[in-house]
């Protein structure tokens, strides 16, 4: 019995002393392993053009870049980015791989985990579904010496570079546009069909709409969460029309993919005479070729096109810059925005970055 007790205590002591917390160091890890290439600390001040070209190619050669979007196949935004990145990185001799997480956050987390643990990437390009989801992964990646570039959807944990749209400004702009139409009609009620509460896109958009609506004297009569699902959006649009009827003049939907079913619901209501023709307009953000079709069909009255391929190109540039400067991942962070413009039936064919096809 005694021996057993002693053994138990000894075991317990061993177990307790054997515990580690595994808390990652606050200090960022080592710089990205650059191999033998000397291009760290940036391009020399004076250098031959041919030499610099060689240096850049050497730096980027065999670098493994992983792109982990929310959804890839058939999803025009991310394919637009992906195609730009692919072309750019392949021309520089880097390996570029897309990991499709298929709208499955778990899958995304697992993929990133795998990339970090097995060190299969030198830089990650992330498309973040939620303000909080990837905080730990971004931290871990940087600690493991991997650069992190975040596209379009911010995270609470900053990566090395963020590139995307200035959503607040875009939201203000499109709200202003709606205000103009509403006032022409003598109405002032607008409603939001938004996304999930912790979606970064949702948070910023709502902020922008609110500010502009207040300035313009518009009343936000309703806000719902479509969960970015088409069927919910159309149902919510129909319900809103019923509820606010004659006073409603604009449905604000921050994504053209969801705006389309909402527009459909509006059209049905118009056809059935439950709302006056052209009384309610759908105002979206973004305009893929589908969105543009919606605009020309009258399902969406106006949208904001922002430079999707610019985001792709921007990410391409940012990654190159990170490797060339060679700072430790996570040591410095920067944010960059792309241009945008309001489009409707009249001007959409003239805007270069509107109606993109994702290729």
């Amino acid at each position: 019995m005694k021996i057993k007790t002693v053994a138990m205590i000894a075991l317990l002591a061993l177990v307790l002393t054997g515990c580690t917390s595994g808390r990652p160091d606050a200090a960022p890890g080592n710089a990205a392993a650059g191999g033998t290439v000397s291009l760290t600390g940036g391009v020399p001040e004076v250098v031959q053009p041919l030499e610099v070209r060689q240096l850049v190619h050497d730096t980027m050669k065999d670098k493994r870049i992983a792109f982990i979007p929310l959804l890839y196949k058939g999803y025009k935004i991310t394919t637009e980015w992906g195609v730009q990145l692919q072309r750019g990185f392949e021309s520089l001799g880097s390996t570029f791989t897309v990991y499709d997480s298929n709208f499955d956050t778990d899958q995304m987390v697992r993929i990133i985990d795998d990339l970090i643990k097995s060190k299969k990437a030198d830089a990650l390009i992330l498309h973040n579904p939620d303000l909080n989801v990837l905080t730990q992964q971004i931290k871990e990646a940087q600690a493991a010496g991997i650069y992190v570039v975040v596209l379009n959807m911010t995270s609470n944990q900053s990566g090395d570079v963020f590139i995307g749209a200035d959503l607040v400004s875009m939201a203000e702009e499109i709200t202003n546009k709606a205000a103009v139409d509403c006032k022409a009609d003598g109405k002032n009620q607008i409603a939001l069909i938004n996304g999930p509460a912790t979606d970064p896109w949702n948070v910023l958009y709502e902020e922008g709409v609110k500010t502009a609506a207040e300035e313009q004297g518009l009343e936000i009569v309703d806000t719902t969460d479509s969960k970015w699902q088409a069927d919910l959006a159309s149902q919510q649009a129909a319900t809103m029309i019923e509820r606010h009827g004659a006073d409603l003049c604009a449905l604000m939907v921050p994504w053209d993919v969801v705006a389309l079913p909402a527009g459909n619901a509006v059209k049905t209501a118009e056809d059935e005479g439950r709302v006056a023709k052209d009384q309610v307009g759908v105002y979206a953000i973004d305009s893929s070729s589908d969105g543009c079709e919606g605009i020309s069909d009258g399902l969406i009255r106006a949208s904001i096109a922002y430079d999707q391929s610019g985001i792709g190109t921007g990410a391409l540039l940012a990654v190159q810059q990170l490797f060339e400067l060679g700072n430790a991942p996570g040591s410095q962070r920067s944010v960059a925005y792309v241009p945008y413009v309001v489009i409707d039936k009249t001007n959409m064919s003239q805007v270069t970055f509107a109606c993109y096809f994702g290729s």
Partner: protein
């Protein structure tokens, strides 16, 4: 045993994947961590399934608790240790909702937990809406990191905790009162209720446990990922369900092991990791999962019907025996020639007794013998005309011997060794030995005590015909013919010890006249061996008789310093042939009912006398097979031979030829001088 097929299929599957997919050492870590979290869910689900229910809401409970722990820590600043305690409590609270609806209100488990799956996810979303923006501050507690990234003696914390919980859960489920109740409820509610088991409480506890485990898994998940959205645990229920089904946990309740479920989880996680490493669309994982789920559900269904029968067949594994030359007893005028010497022995207890394997005679000349109904008869000496049941042991009383104090020792098949006192009461001498280590088969019981004798130091040597089959299934042992038997010594202080392991069907045991060795007869190998228990050769085993023409049974000392032995069966060329072909015997057991099995000729009646050096002196037969068709033991006393037979309806008493009579009291333990107290004297 019963889960062998699904589980081995699962293992083959995972090995195939590991071989085909370049999974590295890093994936091992990921897989382990993943198994740790979801494995907790699998344990919970297994427990619920064993209790006859199902819990689909585990993924949602995990999600809700993951968020709750973050909120408690980051928003309300609850001390981390308290959070660790609270996480399973929160999970258990959600589990209690399931338990209440299913156990109390008696709703259907599947649909109920399908509803709570949505409802709990709703709660998680609501928490997310309300608190999410405030969860961005990083944690300050080391415990948080310890749970997520830390290690315990080099093992990642989640994995270590999972293994601990797994072991506890396994023991609880298989050994504890709670586990038993749960199993019985899941298997058959009516029986459970009739056995006085509180069905409602058992079912309720299963859901509580499943909730608590999901809650704890939630804590681990949030420590690992730090995710603060409501999507944690989404779709886990199908993954875990597949894993559990893969592990052979029955969906119809009452059958399942958490260990196997954990193995199932391991396989599923390997599949998942493989799809990630191969950059496959997660549609592939879903598809694979569905196929695996369907396949194993069908397997459970089809396999479940036959698994017991299958297991029973696998348990019989006939061995191959090389047999020596066969003495032909039909040749005339040899020592072995069939004769009729036993035929006319007058019967004792005709019609009263059914199958006495052995007998014993006390000082008063009273005869005691067992009976296959578990009774001990006593026939009054000297003529043995009247008999009555003297004691009841139950079981199959086989070998008899007197101990040093003059009490009757009986080896009872199924019950070990019993001692019968003068007043007819019985007491247990021993019925177990120490379980041998590293043996899958529990051999701690003395299942089939067959014969016994007492050594000069008072210790009892007992032969155990087989440590696998019971006395009533002796046919199995005959067919299997493997070294399953043992010789066991019961020391005077009551402790037991195995002195010969792995002996082929030991039967007769007899202490030699000099008290230095024990003779053991191996029925299956037609031989007699000698085990030295003292002297220079102590502990050694050496042959005495080999290649006998029959299957030896009990042995006893003869009064002239030799030994008597009987054959329970005779060898024939065909039975010898069969010994060489175990596959043939296996097939026989599969295709024929027991009473049609071909075994050595059991109806014989052959007795022989042999010397210490192994020389056969004399062979007696009942060639008619009418009176004594089977003689299993010979006891000599005061010039008479008492013939017992386990299938005879009588004992026999044969007057000995004068040349056989000696001066030794065969009943007394050799080399001891203790006065024998007779039962009859004690009565007076």
């Amino acid at each position: 045993m019963e889960a062998a097929v699904p589980l081995s299929l699962a293992m083959i599957l995972s090995v195939a994947i590991v071989v085909m997919v370049p999974l590295g050492i890093n994936d091992g870590g990921s897989i382990l961590e993943e198994v740790a979290t979801k494995g907790l869910l699998a344990i919970g689900l297994t427990v619920v399934l064993v209790a006859g229910g199902i819990d689909l809401s585990i993924g949602s409970i995990l999600g809700v608790t993951a968020l709750s722990t973050l909120i408690l820590d980051r928003v309300y600043g609850v001390p981390m240790l308290l959070v660790v305690v609270l996480a399973p409590v929160i999970g258990a609270a959600f589990g209690a909702i399931n338990g209440f609806l299913i156990a109390k209100i008696k709703t259907r488990p599947f649909i109920t937990t399908l509803v709570t799956l949505i409802a709990f996810r709703g709660v998680a979303k609501w928490l997310e809406e309300t608190y999410s923006s405030r969860l961005v501050v990083p944690s300050t507690s080391d415990i948080w990191y310890f749970l997520g990234q830390g290690t315990i003696v080099g093992i990642p914390t989640p994995t270590a905790l999972f293994i601990i919980i797994l072991v506890i859960a396994h023991l609880s489920l298989t050994r504890s009162r709670w586990g038993w109740h749960l199993t019985s409820v899941g298997s058959d509610r009516r029986s459970a209720r009739r056995n006085g088991i509180n069905v409602e409480r058992s079912v309720f506890s299963a859901y509580i446990l499943s909730g608590a485990l999901a809650g704890f898994a939630g804590l681990l998940a949030s420590a690992r990922f730090g995710r603060a959205d409501s999507g944690v645990g989404l779709g886990f229920e199908i993954i875990v369900l597949t894993a559990v089904v893969l592990g052979g946990v029955s969906l119809s309740g009452g059958r399942g092991s958490v260990i196997r479920a954990a193995v199932g989880m391991f396989v599923v996680t390997i599949i998942q990791q493989a799809t990630i490493v191969l950059r496959m669309d997660n549609g592939y994982f879903a598809t694979l999962l569905a196929i695996v789920l369907l396949f194993f559900a069908v397997l459970d269904l089809k396999w479940g019907t036959y698994r017991e029968r299958f297991a029973a067949k696998l348990s019989l594994d006939p061995g191959m025996t090389a047999v020596g030359p066969l003495i032909d007893v039909t040749v005339l005028d040899t020592l072995w020639t069939v004769n009729g010497r036993l035929t006319d022995a007058p019967p004792i207890g005709l019609g009263l007794i059914e199958g006495a394997e052995d007998c014993a005679i006390d000082d008063g000349g009273h005869l005691y013998c067992g009976d296959r109904r578990g009774w001990i008869w006593r026939f009054e000496g000297p003529d043995h005309a009247e008999g009555k049941v003297f004691a009841r042991t139950g079981g199959l009383p086989l070998g008899h011997a007197w101990d040093l104090n003059g009490n009757l020792l009986v080896a009872v098949g199924g019950m070990g060794v019993q001692r019968i006192l003068a007043d007819g009461t019985t007491e247990l001498v021993a019925n177990q030995v120490k379980r041998s280590r590293f043996s899958l088969h529990d051999d701690s019981a003395i299942r089939f005590a067959d014969d016994l004798d007492v050594a000069p130091d008072g210790s009892i040597y007992v032969s155990e015909f087989s440590s696998r089959t019971s006395a009533a299934e002796y046919m199995l042992e005959f067919v299997e013919c493997r070294p399953n038997g043992r010789l066991i010594r019961i020391n005077p202080d009551g402790s037991t010890e195995v002195v010969i392991k792995n002996y082929v069907s030991p039967n007769g045991v007899c202490t030699s006249h000099d008290g230095q060795s024990i003779l053991v007869a191996s029925t299956g190998l037609f031989r007699v061996d000698r085990l030295w228990i003292s002297g220079p050769k102590k502990g050694q085993l050496e042959p005495v008789l080999e290649d006998l023409p029959g299957y030896p049974d009990n042995m006893n000392r003869a009064s002239d310093g030799n030994y008597w032995m009987s054959f329970v069966a005779m060898r024939t060329p065909v039975s010898d042939l069969l010994m060489k072909y175990p596959a043939m015997r296996r097939r026989m057991t599969k295709e024929l009912p027991v009473d049609e099995w071909f075994v050595p000729q059991l109806n014989v009646s052959c007795v022989l006398k042999f010397t210490d050096s192994g020389q056969v002196l004399k062979v007696l037969w009942d060639e008619t097979l009418e009176n004594y068709p089977m003689v299993t033991s010979i006891n000599e006393h005061e010039g008479s031979l008492y013939l017992s037979g386990v299938q005879n309806n009588r004992l026999g008493r044969l007057e000995l030829d004068p040349e056989d009579r000696g001066s030794i009291d065969t009943r007394r333990v050799p080399m001891t001088q203790q006065a024998r107290t007779s039962f009859s004297e004690a009565e007076k």
